[in-house]
């Protein structure tokens, strides 16, 4: 047995092997075997790799009261560590992972307000154009930038039909431990991949839920029993610029 196989004790699946059961039992027994010794973290089970069995998506209700979108934007800033105080902000160039957009039909005067962020396309143009392979789509549909190999050429920003990628022009300080950010790379909404992998919801969704709003739904579009799949099959939803055929994972209601 190698170290690697020892590390991949998977607790999510039912395992009938007596040997693995013993191994799992040993890891749990340590805690009781050594009283007085406080272990800060118990060895976390290895999860992944993610598969295309899941397709993470969002459903945004544009008929929700306009004020909730500010909550979502603020939650994203706080979670991911972008956004600056008004005093040192450079609005023309500062990164925007999510923004509030107001629209108005000039003929009828009907108005709506909606948040726009990376649409996590199934056929993402940003991935097609990336010269280094930094712009990438995970198997479960989340589109990310691998900043380790991003050279900051900004082709993806040109290619994105939703203008959802931002370039970091200035030095960054105070990054979050789960979200490295650096000057000279491109970044965008990660659908809070660090939270999703832990089974949590993205920060914007959670902030709205806390405020009693369900204006952004998050879930697995491939699972017919998930809340989001039911909602998508119940209501008429649309995706921005669906004519482009990029198959976004973010659906909207009421626009």
């Amino acid at each position: 047995m190698t170290d690697k196989s020892m590390n991949t004790v998977d607790t999510s699946r039912v395992d009938t092997s007596r040997r693995n059961l013993l191994k799992g039992g040993a890891a749990a027994a340590i805690i009781t075997l050594a009283p007085g010794v406080t272990l800060q973290t118990v060895q976390a089970a290895v999860t992944g790799p993610v598969t295309s069995a899941k397709r993470w998506g969002m459903l945004i209700d544009a008929t929700a009261p306009e004020g909730v979108w500010d909550l979502a934007v603020d939650a994203c800033k706080a979670e991911q560590g972008w956004g600056k105080d008004k005093d040192d902000a450079n609005p023309a160039t500062d990164p925007q992972w999510i923004r509030k957009v107001s629209i108005k039909d000039p003929k009828t005067g009907a108005k709506a307000s909606l948040p726009v962020m990376c649409q996590h396309c199934a056929n993402p143009p940003c991935v097609d154009v990336c010269p280094t392979g930094a712009s990438m789509k995970r198997e479960d549909g989340i589109v990310l930038v691998d900043k380790h190999i991003c050279i900051g050429c900004r082709y993806c920003m040109m290619a994105c039909p939703y203008s959802c990628r931002s370039f970091v022009h200035e030095d960054v300080r105070g990054q979050k431990q789960h979200m490295p950010r650096g000057k000279g790379t491109v970044e965008s909404c990660t659908m809070c991949v660090h939270r999703v992998d832990k089974g949590q919801k993205p920060a914007c969704v959670e902030a709205l839920n806390k405020a009693g709003s369900n204006a952004i739904m998050f879930g697995d579009l491939n699972d017919p029993n998930s809340d989001i799949s039911r909602a998508v099959s119940k209501y008429v939803t649309q995706r921005i610029r669906a004519d482009l055929g990029v198959e976004p994972g973010v659906h909207y209601r009421g626009i």
Binding site: M1, D3, M6, N7, R19, L22, K23, A26, A27, A29, I30, L33, A34, V37, T38, L39, Q40, T41, V42, Q43, A44, A45, V46, T47, G48, P49, V50, M136, R138, E139, D140, L144, D146, K147, H148, V172, G174, Q175, K176, Q177, P180, R181, G182, K183, T185, V193, D197, K198
Partner: protein
Amino acid sequence: MRSASRILSLTILGFVLVAFGIGSGLLATSAQAGEVPLPKPAKAFKGEQCVEPTDVMRRNHFEFLKHQRDETLREGVRGNKYSLNECIDCHAVTSPDVAGGKVRTLKPFCAECHAYAAVSIDCFQCHTGAALPDAKQSALPADHADKAMITALQKHLDKGAKQ
């Protein structure tokens, strides 16, 4: 004229080298005169043993980190053995040079050898090198005990399987 200035500069260089040799001889007795003193990376904040033996970590830490970063970011594999955040958890220490000694960072550990070996890569232009403020010091690394126990049990079971 040219040769005179060359002699002058060589003399100055000689003086500097001799002065440096005396200085470093006083500071580090192990270093030979004129040699750059060996790096002294900071001792770990907590724990007695890393995820691999020290010599393996010294030689291969970058391979481990690079391999795992690709798995984590691109495939979504979480909870693997070599994690940069766990490096920070154990090895980040306070230093008067960094943030007035208020924050635990990896600088006194990583930068020491990287400067010696002229390694220019710096994870911490983007990653934060600062430890989470609520982490407490403990005698053991986070999962040292269970790993040791699992290894022992594994050996025991493997021995049984062969018989």
